[in-house]
């Protein structure tokens, strides 16, 4: 069964990495996609300028869940600046691509990182 998604997307959809929440997270970002009502919440733990842990919860389509999962894998261990530089393209490419109609679902992942790191910056000024 091939389906519309790549094997990578299906793997991350069926076995999503890092689902959950982080108690006392250093940053929490929540973003929604008004087009479809889907939603993603990302928690990050930051230690010495590096993202030491990331967890997510997502209400959304297969692409949204897979993008969330992939994103948490990608940002773990990265510095805050490196994580900020991640775009939806990077996420989609890491998933071996998404159908054109589903590219916007990976945008949610990019926005979630930015939102979580903005929250982190607010909570940890300077």
């Amino acid at each position: 069964m091939a389906g519309p998604y790549s094997a990578k997307v299906m793997d991350h959809f069926m076995n999503p990495r890092n689902v959950g929440e982080i108690e006392n997270a250093d940053g929490v970002g929540e973003v929604g996609n008004p087009a479809c009502g889907d939603m993603m919440r990302l928690y990050v733990k930051v230690e010495e300028g590096r993202i030491s842990d990331a967890k997510f919860r997502t209400f959304g389509c297969g692409a949204a869940i897979a993008s969330s999962s992939m994103l948490t894998e990608m940002i773990k261990g990265k510095t805050v600046d490196e994580a900020r530089a991640i775009t939806n393209r990077h996420v989609a490419d890491a998933l071996d691509g998404l159908p054109p109609v589903k590219i916007h679902c990976s945008v949610m992942a990019e926005e979630a990182v930015k939102a979580a790191l903005d929250d982190y910056a607010r909570k940890h000024p300077g």
């Binding site: 299906m10 069926m14 689902v19 479809c36 009502g37 993603m40 209400f59 389509c61 949204a64």
Partner: protein, 404 residues
């Protein structure tokens, strides 16, 4: 792996008996019905005529009132555009329910651009149109009312007989799209007061690529395909002889077996409906609870998104639909193609969960065991998605706080 097909509203498997009746018209009798001067053409013409009689029989029409097309989409286009153009002098106003299929809705677009006016008919929260609204919507310049017989997405059967009666009283043409219902529940063109009826073969165990439009004797239509004089001038082009023979065979079988099929499907549908209702919380059924297609169960689940449900179901070998088969178009060009289902919006389902609906549509080949295995996996899948959902988490926290 299991292979449980619960998506009969998108298409049905070809009945092997239909296939047998189609076979001779591929290799043996390949003639063109228009060339009926010789034996090959004669055989083809006979096949098409026999099929016409059988299809007419399914809806209590006369054979000469059946126009074969390439499917329901073409039939809907012919009905809407053909009637609008043929009766343009009488008026340019059309009344349609807001839950029609894309092939009705989109056929209206070019007409609108040319100055036709369209009045949409609201439906209630079960998806039913009110015949009294039809009466109110009809104006002196109204030429056509179009309300589907049954809705594919939510299963609701519309009150077509009442609507047809009102249209006739006011001397307005009445078109009903019976794609989802024909061959599954009885349809009598007289009782429904219908002047135009759309039929699709592959929705009742016939082949794809063939459909028909019932055109009441005396009703005029502007042909939408220019060419020869096939199908009484309503539809040019060499007939799809094997397909038409298949549609005829499928119609004859459906007429015979519709009642037992419906009985079985109602039983299986009830088992599925009751089982889902009992095992999955936060679940909302859609469509009319009683006046609905047999074996059709549609619903949405809070905190679980439709496509994710479908993907997980498919992993378990269960094939279903989300939204209408066309709106969950993953092959679309961009996100503009990702539209929330207009049908769900029409019945008042909040737009953020419009992508979340599931339609299980059972067919004559489905079994009780298949229903039971869906009942086993669905609660597990829902739970899995809830555990991933931020909104479900919030709901749970609220519940704890509220309760404590």
């Amino acid at each position: 792996m299991a292979h449980i097909f619960f998506d009969h509203i998108s298409t049905t498997p070809l009945d092997p008996r239909v296939f047998e009746e189609m076979k001779p018209y591929f290799l043996e009798w390949y003639g063109n019905p228009s060339s009926h001067i010789h034996d090959q053409g004669q055989a083809a013409l006979k096949a098409v005529d026999a099929a016409r009689t059988r299809v007419a029989g399914l809806i209590h029409a006369r054979p000469q009132e059946i126009v074969f097309t390439s499917g329901a989409t073409e039939a809907n286009n012919l009905a809407i555009k053909g009637a609008a153009e043929a009766y343009e002098k009488r008026g340019r106003h059309i009344v349609v329910s807001e839950v029609e299929h894309f092939s009705v809705m989109n056929a209206l677009l070019p007409l609108r651009n040319r100055g036709y006016e369209v009045t949409p008919l609201k439906v209630d929260s079960d998806g039913k149109a009110d015949p009294e609204d039809v009466r109110r919507a009809i104006r002196p310049d109204t030429i056509l009312v179009s309300v589907m017989h049954a809705n594919s997405e939510i299963g609701t059967i519309e009150p077509v007989a009442e609507i047809g009666r009102i249209a006739r009283e006011r001397e307005v043409l009445f078109h009903t799209d019976a794609t989802a219902s024909a061959g599954h529940i009885p349809l009598d063109v007289e009782a429904a007061g219908a002047d135009l009826v759309t039929l699709s073969a592959h929705n009742f165990y016939g082949p794809k690529g063939v459909g028909a439009l019932y055109v009441r004797e005396g009703v005029r239509l502007a042909s939408q395909i220019d060419g020869g004089f096939q199908e009484r001038g309503f539809r040019a082009g060499t007939e799809n002889v094997p397909g038409i023979a298949g549609m005829g065979a499928a119609a004859a079988i459906a007429k015979e077996e519709m009642a037992p099929w419906a009985g079985k499907l109602r039983r299986l549908g009830k088992r599925l409906w009751d089982g889902i209702g009992a095992t999955v919380s936060h679940l909302h059924f859609t469509g009319h609870p009683v006046d609905r297609l047999p074996g059709h169960v549609s619903f949405w689940v809070e905190y679980a998104e439709g496509e994710s449900l479908l993907l997980f179901l498919n992993v378990h070998g269960v094939m279903a639909a989300s939204g209408s088969a066309c709106s969950s178009n993953l092959r679309g060009r961009d996100e503009e193609d990702l539209v929330a289902s207009p049908v769900l919006r029409a019945i008042g389902v909040p737009s953020d969960i419009c992508t979340g609906s599931i339609t299980f549509s059972l067919g004559k080949g489905n079994t009780e065991e298949e229903v039971d295995s869906v009942l086993r996996v669905l609660p597990v899948i829902a739970k899995r998605l809830w555990e991933m959902s931020p909104t479900y988490l919030d709901y749970q926290k609220q519940k704890v706080q509220g309760g404590g």
